[in-house]
Subunit: 237 residues, 3 copies
């Protein structure tokens, strides 16, 4: 939660962290976007997550799912699948998470019989099955609505040595989608680029993952349009 | 919890973080002060919070309440009101939180009929209704017992771009009140000043909110009397 | 969890943080080592901790216990004793924690009648009673199997001003024991030395506890064999 909240603050958003089902009816309508992260999942959190997501959908507001370690247990996979059923605007995960979700979503389909699905194909299948924009983080990030595929090429490998950078960028996607809810694919690709460019700028000053973490957040806070435009590399695939 | 515990350690205090009701009877008597923070509130935590606060009152020791986002939901407001009923030594919040608590505490009184209560008036009303010292964080921090009002003028705006700086200073207030329990207003104003002066010193070295966070804690650790005395700006209002 | 996960990532390990009993059967077999930390203990976590530890023992894999504040409450001490009963490969605590655990483990024995047990004697007694390697952190760290005692002399005092450095080194012990499960005493002493040498290297650049935290993790990430070998001080007692 720490790096997630600090990322959002640095980007100009206003984070609030809510766990309890009892707060969903009052609090959720005040939010412009919701980020559901199943990181250290407890059974009691699942109803709160579902309830908040359902309320956002009912209110016509965006919500974003981070299916952390979706394939690590049946409990976690089932919780993620139930959340995918609530139609997230965007799902962002790493390759393994998206492949796990995609296979489970398509368990009765053709693709699931094959072990060879790569992350991009999994993302496209999951996007078509769920109606969500699906983003896969990696050396190159890809974002797809099931047909169109956009690749975001920024970032540095050392970002993977900082815990919860994936969680942080998922929350940033929620903030970007809140500002442009009718273009979730573009908003998602932009959020991934901005976060990764902050990582590149931070890497110029970093001596290791802990100083990278600091310089990344500082760079995100100080990011100006010129720096962004000179570095951004988003392409259609 | 991370920045809260590191703030306390940097200031020379010994933090311990306890969640479970089962530990209150054994652990609470070992503490010189208690800080209750309703940040990511869960229903099961409320009885533990109340029980710990009640035990501190019974033992004649100070306890401090941080009513995080008190107005964000009925559940949260009710939990905060129940805690205010256990007579905190100090309540510290931002303007919105103190206004929300004050209005709800006075719901049958005159002031609650007016929408125009500002944070200072809310703080004074809440202090009189609760018997607590009330501190409101803002561009200028104010501390009141309902009659006397003290303003602490230190700090830098970027501290608001770091998650949980408010939580950290509330915990620091608890540590200061533990050292001088018979002067909670002065101890509260001192803690706010010391934390904000550490922020000013940190700001001289910071390039953004993440490096400010680091330099603030380092400055708090290294703070000496001369630096404090040359910078402190506390006034009576 | 933040500094623990970042420590493991910096050292080249792959951390995952699991709370729920529902995930133990699926997830635990995927881990090469388990670290159980009772930090902010809740009653509902104890069965998950026990279940995960029992499964690791059944699978013949190492697990490490951090009995945080073991003596602070009866609830916490009983939870720790129940976990000691599941035969941790290593137990790492500070002097107070190891003394509390050792006394409680030996409550019907001779030693428990004496109040004078020091941390080293407590560690040896606990190691003999539990069959675990026991490590005591302090100005000099000691590691014992009940007979042999090894002392690790690296480290800087300011590391104690950073919250959860003890938790971080316990997790690092788990990672080291995973790589050399048949030499848990040596692996434990090595992990303590490596973490403390990273602290020494970080201290050369630090201006306070928050920058030490950053430089420690950076140094751990960048540590090379030459720096290690020139600094390591492990002796037999």
């Amino acid at each position: 939660m720490d790096i997630v909240a600090n990322t959002l603050l640095a980007a100009g958003a206003s984070p609030a962290m809510i766990h309890s089902l009892a707060e969903i009816p009052d609090f959720t309508p005040q939010a412009q976007a919701l980020c559901v992260n199943v990181g250290t999942l407890s059974p009691s959190w699942v109803p709160a997550m579902k309830s908040a997501a359902e309320l956002m959908v009912k209110l016509g507001k965006p919500w974003v799912l981070d299916p952390v370690a979706a394939g690590a247990s049946g409990f976690r996979l089932n919780a993620c699948l139930a959340l995918v059923g609530v139609k997230p605007t965007v799902i962002r995960g790493n390759g393994s998470e998206i492949i796990a979700l995609s296979r489970a979503s398509l368990v009765k389909g053709v693709d699931s019989a094959h072990g060879s699905m790569d992350a991009l194909e999994a993302a496209k299948s999951l996007a078509r099955a769920s109606g969500s924009i699906v983003a896969v983080s990696g050396a190159v990030d890809v974002v797809t609505d099931g047909n169109r595929v956009v690749a975001a090429h920024n970032g540095v490998p050392m970002m993977q040595k900082i815990t919860a950078t994936g969680c942080a960028v998922t929350a940033l996607i929620a903030a970007f989608v809140a500002l442009d809810p009718s273009h979730p694919l573009e908003a998602t690709a932009s959020a991934l680029s901005v976060f990764c460019i902050a990582g590149e700028l931070g890497m110029d000053l970093a001596k290791g993952p802990a100083s990278l973490r600091m310089h990344l957040i500082d760079s995100l806070y100080g990011l100006d349009e010129a720096a962004l435009l000179s570095r951004v590399r988003i392409t259609d695939l």
